[in-house]
Amino acid sequence: MLIARQKNNQWYWLGGGLAMAIIPLWAELPGWLLPFVIAIYLWRLIYPQHLARQGKWIKLLVVTVSVMLLSVSIGSIFSLQGFVGLLVLASSLKLIELETRRDYLLMVFLGCLISACQLLFYNSVLSFGYTLCSLLILHTALLQMFINSESAQSVKQRLLASILKVTIIFLQALPIAIILFIVMPRIGSIWTVPINSNVAKTGVTDSLTAGDIGQLNQDFSVAMRITFSSSAQPSVSQMYWRGMSLAAFDGKTWRRVPEAAPLSDKLRNKLQKVTERTAGPLYRYQIMQEATGRPWLYSLSTPIVRNREIVQGQDYSLSRHSPLQRRFQYEVTSAADFIDNTPLGHEQYLRYTQLPGAGNPQTRAFAQQLKQRLGSTQNIIDFLTEQYQHGFSYTLSPGKLSTENPIDDFLFNTKRGYCEHFASSSAFLLRAAGVPARIATGYQGGQWSTDHQYLLVTQAQAHAWVEFWDEQSGWVRWDPTAVVAPERISRGTSEFLLLDGRAQDIAALFRKNSWVRNWQLQWDGLNYQWHRWVLGYNSQLQFQFVKKLLGAVDSWRIGLLILLVLGLVIAPLMIKSSRKSGTRQTDPVIKLCHKLDKKMAKLQLHREPQETLSRFLSRAAIEQPSLAVALRSIAADLEKLLYYPTSSSSAEIATVAANIKKLKYR
C-alpha cells in the first residue's frame, strides 16, 4: 500500500516534469500531438495500470500510426521539428508501459532532453529559467528513487525536503557551471545540422508602397540594440539607422535595385582614412540586430565595418551574405561628415531620375513649374519644406489614396500621411524636377535604456526618408516627415501616438504609466545583457573576457579558477559535515600530543599505547641524546598541560607547540 503510494508520488514528479518539458514546444509541433499527449496523460492518470496490460499488437499499432502521422504532418522526420516531435511522442508512448525502474530513469533522461530541445526554438531568459525549472522537477523525480522511503516523515515533508535538496544541489552547481561556460573553449559545429529555418520575416522590407495600407500597425518588438563605444554620439533626433536605398519606382512602389558592384576600393580607402583620424564626429558603435530573415543591416550614414561577412554596396548600405536567421552582432564606425561627391555616372543619373512614363500628371506639372521658377535644388527643397509646414499633417491612419494617381491625391488632396507618403511623394517630385533622388529606409531614433547603456530601437521606429543629389555635398539626407511633424522625430513614435489622440492600442496606453514603462525598460535591459553576454558569447568574446578576468588565457589559470570555484562551493558542505561527525580532536593539548607523536615517528620512535608521555620521552631521550634536554622539557610541559589542576593557558600551549616544532631530526 505504502509502496504503491510512493510509486505514485514518483510518477507525479516524473509526469509533472515531462509535461513541463513538453508544453512550451506545442507551437512547434503539429496541432494533433498536444491533444494526443494529453489524452495519454489522462488515461494513465485515471487507469494507472490499465495501459500497461494492453496487448503487444495494440501498442505496436499505436506507435506505427502515430509515427506515420507525425512524419506526414511535419513533412520530413529528419528535420529539427521531426526530431523533437519524435522525442515527445516517444516519451508519451513510454508512459503507457512505465513499469520498471529502468523505464522510469529513461523517462527522466527523455524529459531532460526534451526540455533542452526547447532551447533550440526559444532562447529568452524566461525560456531558460523555465527549462531550469523543469530540469529541477525531473531531478527531484530522480531523487525520489534514492531516498529513504520510511513512514516517519509525512509525504509533504518528504517532498519539501527533496525539493530543497535538489535546489541546493542546483544552486551549488550553478557557479561551477557558470565558470565552465565562461572558460570552456568553443568549437564550431562539428557537422552540419538542419537549422530551424522558419524565422518570420520582420522589419523593413525592400519595397515601399505609399497609400495601399490604410492604417499603420504599431509593432513594439525589438528591432535592434545599439551600444556606443565612442564618446561622440549623435542626438536621438539625428539617428537615422539607414538600411538600404530604394531607387526603382513603377508609379506605385519603390523597389530596391540590386547593386551590381560593391563600394569601390578607392572610396573605401578614403573612408577608411577618415575613420582613422581622431578629430571630427566619429561614431563607433555595436549593433545587435534581431533575426529578420533578411540579409540587410543598418547603420548611421557612411559606415565602415571590418567584418568579412558583411558587404557594402555603392550606396553605402550594409548587408550580409546570408539572411539573419538568428541575432547578429556587428561593430560599425561611421564618419558623419564624410562627403562623397564623386560625380554620378550617366547610368546612375538615369537610375536616380527614372520615372514611369505616365501617372501623377499634376505632380509632374508642379515639379516642372518649380524647376523653372526656382532653379537650384536647394531652392526647391526650401520651397517644399515651407509647403509641408503649412497644410500637411502627420497621421498614422491617413486612409487610402487613389490607386491611379496616389501622389497627386496625397499632395493636392488629402495632405495627411506618415513617413512613407512624405518620402515617396517628395522623391517623385524631386525626380520630376530633374533632381536625382532616392528613398532610404531604416529606423529613426531609439530609446535609451534606463542606465543609458544602450539604445533600443523597435519596429515601430521604422522610417523612410529622401536622399537627393547635390553636386557639392553628394547625397544629402532630407526627411520631409521631420518637417511636417517634428515631434515624431524628437519624441519617438509611441509618444507621438498619444499626442495624436487616436491611440487605441492598450499597450501604448500602458506606456503612459511611468513605472510600467520603467519596468519594461529594465526588463529589456536584462534581455539585452542576456543576448549580449549569454547568447552572443562566442569564442572572440570569450577570449576577451577571460583575458580581462584572468590577465591571460592559460590553461593553468583556467584550471585554477575552476578549482577555486569548486572549492568555494564545496567548502561549506565539507565544514558542515566535519562538524556533524564530531570525531575531530578539538582539545589543543591533545592535538599537540598528536603532533608530537608524528614528529617522533619521523625519528623512528613510536610510542606504545600504554606508554605515558614522560616515559616515552625519557626513552626517546636515551635513544636520541642530542634531543634529551628538549624532550624532557616538552614532556614536563605537556604533562603539566594535560594533568595539572591549573587550567592551561594558550600562551603555554603555544610555547610547547613551538618547542615541538623546534625538534630537529637528523
Partner: protein, 320 residues
C-alpha cells in the same frame, strides 16, 4: 590550601614509615604493601588470594598494628554461620531481655581468613556488612565502627572444598592482590631469622608500634579523595572501561563500581607518590589489582592479571 598541603607532607611521610615497618615483617613485598596502603586510603576492602603460607595473615596483622586499629581475625570454615560472625541476641535472665552479643565483625580491621572455605550464606553476610558498613540483626541495624576494613584471604579456587565467591561479591573488594613467593634474598633472611627469633615472625608483628592514629588515617583518606583529576585522565579511564566492555574476549566489562574503584585507588596512589594531582602512571599502577578480579569470574589470578595488562597495552594513554 597551604595548611592542607603541609599536613599532607607530614602524613605522607608517615605512610612511608608504615610501608617500612610492615616490610620489616613481610620481607621483599614493598610493592604489594604499597598497594595495601593504597587500598586503605581509598577506603576499600582487600582480597588476598594466594597459596597457604605466603604471609597473608602476617600482612593483615602487621597492618592492624601499625595503623593502631582494633583487630579481629576470623577463620572462615565450612561450618561457620553468619551469627558466628555478626553476633547474636542472647536472653538475659536477670534483665529479662535480649542483649546483643557483638560478633567479631565489630572491629576496625577484620581479617577474614580463607573466605572461600565458608558457605555462600556466611560469605554474603560478610560482604553485605562490607558494603553497607552496618549489620542488620533481628530487625535492628547496628553500625560498624569507623573506619572499617576487611582484609580477606582466599585460597586459589581450584583447591578442593572451596565455595568460590560469585562475581557480584568479588566486585565489593576494591583490590585483589597476590603475594607470591618471596625472592631469593628475602627468603634467605626469613630462613636466617628462624634461627634468631624464638616464636617465628608472626610473633614479631605484635611488636610493631602504631605509627598513625585513626584521625590521621581519616585525614589521609580525605586527602586522597581530594586529589585532582584532569579531563584527559577521566577520558583515559573511560577509554579503558569501554575497551573492557566492547571487547569480546573479556568475560564481563568493568562496572561503574569498578570504574569508581579504579579512580579512587589511583588517587590514593597519587597521594602515596606525594602528589595532589593524578598521573596516568597512577592508574596504570593500580589497574591490575583493581580490575583483574572484576573482568572474569573464573580462572587463575595470573591469567586475569594478564588480561588486565592486555587492556593497558591496547588503550592509548593520551587519545583514542
Amino acid at each position: 590550601m597551604n595548611i592542607v598541603e603541609r599536613e599532607t607532607r607530614v602524613n605522607v611521610n608517615l605512610l612511608e614509615q608504615i610501608e617500612a615497618s610492615v616490610s620489616e615483617v613481610l620481607l621483599g613485598k614493598q610493592a604489594k604493601i604499597k598497594l595495601v596502603i593504597c587500598c586503605l586510603l581509598a577506603r576499600g576492602h582487600l582480597l588476598i588470594e594466594d597459596l597457604p603460607g605466603m604471609g597473608k595473615t602476617t600482612l593483615a596483622q602487621a597492618f592492624a598494628e601499625v595503623l593502631g586499629l582494633a583487630y579481629n581475625r576470623v577463620q572462615f570454615t565450612s561450618d561457620l554461620l553468619p551469627a558466628d560472625l555478626l553476633g547474636v541476641s542472647i536472653f538475659n535472665r536477670q534483665e529479662s531481655s535480649f542483649s546483643f552479643q557483638q560478633g567479631p565483625i565489630f572491629t576496625q580491621l577484620l581479617l577474614a581468613d580463607e573466605i572461600n572455605r565458608t558457605t555462600p550464606k556466611t560469605q554474603s553476610a560478610l560482604l553485605e556488612a562490607m558494603e553497607e558498613q552496618q549489620v542488620s540483626i533481628d530487625g535492628k541495624t547496628r553500625p560498624l565502627p569507623e573506619p572499617f576494613f576487611v582484609i580477606a584471604t582466599q585460597n586459589p579456587s581450584s583447591h578442593s572444598g572451596t565455595y568460590p565467591l560469585p562475581e557480584s561479591q568479588l566486585d565489593r573488594f576494591l583490590m585483589r592482590i597476590e603475594l607470591g613467593y618471596p625472592n631469593a634474598a628475602a627468603e634467605r633472611i626469613i630462613l636466617q631469622r628462624l634461627g634468631t627469633a624464638t616464636k617465628g615472625h608472626r610473633a614479631r608483628a605484635n611488636k610493631l608500634s602504631a605509627i598513625i592514629n585513626v584521625e590521621q588515617l581519616e585525614t589521609l583518606q580525605y586527602q586522597a579523595s581530594q586529589v585532582s583529576v584532569s579531563d584527559a585522565l577521566l577520558d583515559y579511564v573511560q577509554r579503558l572501561i569501554s575497551y573492557s566492555r566492547d571487547n569480546e574476549s573479556i568475560g564481563c566489562g568493568i562496572s561503574p563500581r569498578g570504574s569508581l574503584a579504579l579512580l579512587s585507588a589511583a588517587k590514593a596512589w597519587a597521594l602515596i607518590e606525594h602528589r595532589d594531582y593524578l598521573l596516568p602512571e597512577d592508574i596504570q599502577q593500580v589497574f591490575p589489582a583493581v580490575i583483574a578480579h572484576r573482568i572474569s569470574a573464573t580462572g587463575a589470578v595470573k591469567a586475569q592479571e594478564a588480561v588486565a595488562d592486555h587492556i593497558l597495552t591496547q588503550v592509548d594513554v593520551i587519545y583514542s
